[in-house]
C-alpha cells in the first residue's frame, strides 16, 4: 500500500487509527451523505494509512440484516434502507414522472447492450428513437455519453451511470437481472447465433456497426 509506505517513510506521522475506529469514521462519513461516495473520496477524508476497503467490508457485515444496509454502487458506497421496509416510508416516496414505454425500453437496451449507438437502439426497437427519450434519460442522470464507436462515422455511444445503478439497487452493470441468460441465448448479439451474414436486413445505415456491439459490451467498465 502506498499509504503504508508513506507512513513508514515519514516517522513524524501518526500511526493510522485502529480498524474499529476506521470503521466508525467510514460509518459517520457515509451516514452523513445522501449520495454514494467513492472509496477514494472516503479515503481522502480519513487520516493517512487507513484501509478503506477493509473498513467497508467490516461495516457491511455489521449492517447485514439491519433496517439500513451498506450498498455498493459501482465503485462507490452508500447507506440505503432495506428494501423490505419500503412500505413504512410511503410518505417519503418521491413521485417520479412515469417513464414512457419507449423510454423504459430504451433504458433497458442501453443497460444490457452498452455501449450502444442510437442506430443500434433503433434496430432493436424497430422504430426511430423519438425526441425527448434520450434527453429524459440523460437528464435523470441514468444515461451518459460513452466513447465514440471506432467505426465509420464514429457514432456516439450511450452507457448507464452510477446513478442508474443506485436507483435500481445494482452493484454493477454486470448484476443486471437475467444478463447471463440473455447473453447465453445470444439475445445481446446483433444477429441470431449460427447465422451467417444476413447483411443489412433491417439495417440501412450502419451495417458494420452492430457486429462491434457485442464485443464492446462493458469493455470500459
Amino acid at each position: 500500500m502506498s499509504q503504508d509506505e508513506t507512513a513508514a517513510a515519514d516517522p513524524q506521522r501518526f500511526p493510522p487509527p485502529p480498524l474499529s475506529e476506521q470503521e466508525r469514521m467510514v460509518e459517520a462519513i457515509l451516514f452523513a451523505s445522501a449520495e454514494p461516495m467513492g472509496t477514494r473520496e472516503i479515503a481522502a477524508r480519513l487520516p493517512a494509512g487507513c484501509d478503506v476497503a477493509e473498513a467497508l467490508q467490516a461495516l457491511r457485515g455489521r449492517y447485514q440484516g439491519r433496517g439500513v444496509q451498506l450498498a455498493r454502487v459501482g465503485d462507490a458506497w452508500a447507506f440505503r434502507t432495506a428494501a423490505d421496509l419500503g412500505f413504512l416510508m410511503q410518505e417519503s416516496v418521491v413521485e417520479s414522472r412515469r417513464l414512457s414505454r419507449a423510454a423504459t425500453e430504451t433504458l433497458a437496451i442501453i443497460a444490457y447492450h452498452q455501449p450502444v449507438t442510437r442506430a443500434e437502439i433503433e434496430e432493436i426497437r424497430g422504430v426511430a428513437v423519438s425526441r425527448g427519450t434520450l434527453d429524459q434519460l440523460i437528464e435523470l442522470d441514468w444515461v451518459r455519453i460513452g466513447r465514440r464507436r471506432q467505426t465509420p462515422g464514429r457514432p456516439v455511444t450511450f452507457v448507464v451511470t452510477e446513478t442508474f445503478l443506485d436507483h435500481f439497487g445494482l452493484e454493477s452493470a454486470r448484476d443486471l437481472p437475467g444478463l447471463a441468460e440473455l447473453r447465453a441465448a445470444g439475445l445481446l448479439e446483433s444477429r441470431p447465433p449460427g447465422e451467417g451474414m444476413a447483411p443489412g436486413l433491417f439495417r440501412d445505415d450502419d451495417g458494420g456497426d452492430s457486429a462491434a456491439m457485442a464485443e464492446d459490451l462493458f469493455e470500459d467498465e
Binding site: S92, A108, R125, G126, L170, L176, P192
Partner: protein, 275 residues
C-alpha cells in the same frame, strides 16, 4: 380467416354525430366521415405490431411460424386498406418485405440465388422479435426492482456542518449541449420575419393583373405582368412571379382568364377569357 387483433376503427374525432331529421349531408362531408382512423398509434412500429401478432400463435417465439406471421401481418394491412386507412410508410415497407419473404419461403430455393436464404431471413426476423421481446421483459424487470426513493431510501437528513463554505457550480451535460446547440442554431431559430419591401403580395398582384387583363385579348406571357422594377433583383422577381401566378390562378378560377403552357417549363401565357 385470420383474426386481426387491435384493428379498431374509430370515427374521425371531429365528425359530429349524425342527428336524425336533418337535411342529408353533402357528399363530400359524408365521405370525410367515412374515412376511418385506426389506432395504430398504440404500436411502436411494424416490429412491435409483428410481436403482438406473433403472440396469437401461442408458441415459444423460437418456434414461431414466420409464414403464418407474414399472413397475419398482410391481412392486417389489407384490412386497414379495405377500411381506407392510411398506414405509415414503414408499415407498408414491412408488408412489402414480408410478401417477398413469403413468396421466397413458398417457392423452391433457387440454387443460383445469392445472399441469405429465405430461411435465414425468416430466422433473422424471428430473432429480432425475440430480442425485442427480451428487452421488453428486461425493462419490466428493471422497473420492478426495489427502486431508490420508492422502496429504498437515502439518508433523509444528510448532515452538513456549516463551517467551511464551498460553492459547487452545477451544470449538467444536457445544459452544456443545449447551450451549444442554442448558439449554433441561433440563426435558424430567429423568428421568421421577412422584409416586406421585397415581397409582392397576391392582393397586389390580383389588383395589377385585373387592371391589365382587359388589354390582354391575346396570349401574353406571364412575365409581362410583373410589376416594374421587380425583374432585376432575383428575390423580388421570385416573389412577384409567384404572386402573379397565384393571382392568375385565382382569376382563372373566377372565369376571368385562361392559362396555357406549351410544355414543362415552357413560358406560361394567359389571356382574357373570350366573352
Amino acid at each position: 380467416m385470420t383474426k386481426v387483433p387491435y384493428l379498431t376503427p374509430v370515427p374521425a374525432p371531429d365528425s359530429a354525430p349524425h342527428l336524425p331529421g336533418l337535411a342529408p349531408q353533402p357528399t363530400a362531408e359524408r365521405r370525410a366521415e367515412e374515412v376511418l382512423v385506426v389506432d395504430v398509434s398504440g404500436f411502436e412500429g411494424p416490429l412491435d405490431l409483428l410481436l403482438t401478432l406473433s403472440r396469437t400463435q401461442k408458441v415459444d417465439l423460437m418456434q414461431i411460424s414466420v409464414l403464418e406471421l407474414a399472413d397475419q401481418y398482410l391481412a392486417f394491412v389489407e384490412e386497414a386498406r379495405a377500411l381506407r386507412i392510411e398506414l405509415a410508410a414503414d408499415y407498408l415497407v414491412m408488408a412489402a418485405w414480408l410478401a417477398y419473404l413469403k413468396s421466397r419461403l413458398l417457392l423452391p430455393p433457387d440454387p443460383e440465388a445469392e445472399g441469405p436464404s429465405a430461411e435465414e431471413l425468416a430466422a433473422h426476423l424471428a430473432f429480432q422479435l425475440e430480442r425485442l421481446n427480451a428487452m421488453r421483459e428486461a425493462a419490466a424487470r428493471l422497473m420492478a426492482r426495489d427502486r431508490l426513493g420508492q422502496d429504498r431510501f437515502a439518508r433523509g437528513a444528510p448532515e452538513t456542518v456549516a463551517r467551511q463554505r464551498q460553492v459547487a457550480w452545477q451544470a449538467g451535460l444536457i445544459d452544456l449541449m443545449r447551450a451549444y446547440a442554442r448558439l449554433r442554431t441561433r440563426d435558424e431559430f430567429r423568428p421568421y420575419a421577412f422584409d416586406r419591401r421585397d415581397v409582392f403580395t397576391m392582393e397586389q398582384a390580383l389588383d395589377r393583373v385585373r387592371g391589365l387583363i382587359g388589354f390582354a385579348g391575346d396570349w401574353t406571357a406571364l412575365a409581362a405582368f410583373l410589376p416594374e422594377g421587380w425583374e432585376a433583383d432575383p428575390q423580388r422577381r421570385r416573389s412577384a412571379t409567384a404572386a402573379t401566378f397565384a393571382a392568375t390562378l385565382e382569376l382563372a378560377r373566377q372565369g376571368a382568364v385562361e392559362i396555357a403552357q406549351a410544355g414543362t417549363f415552357a413560358p406560361i401565357t394567359i389571356r382574357r377569357r373570350p366573352q
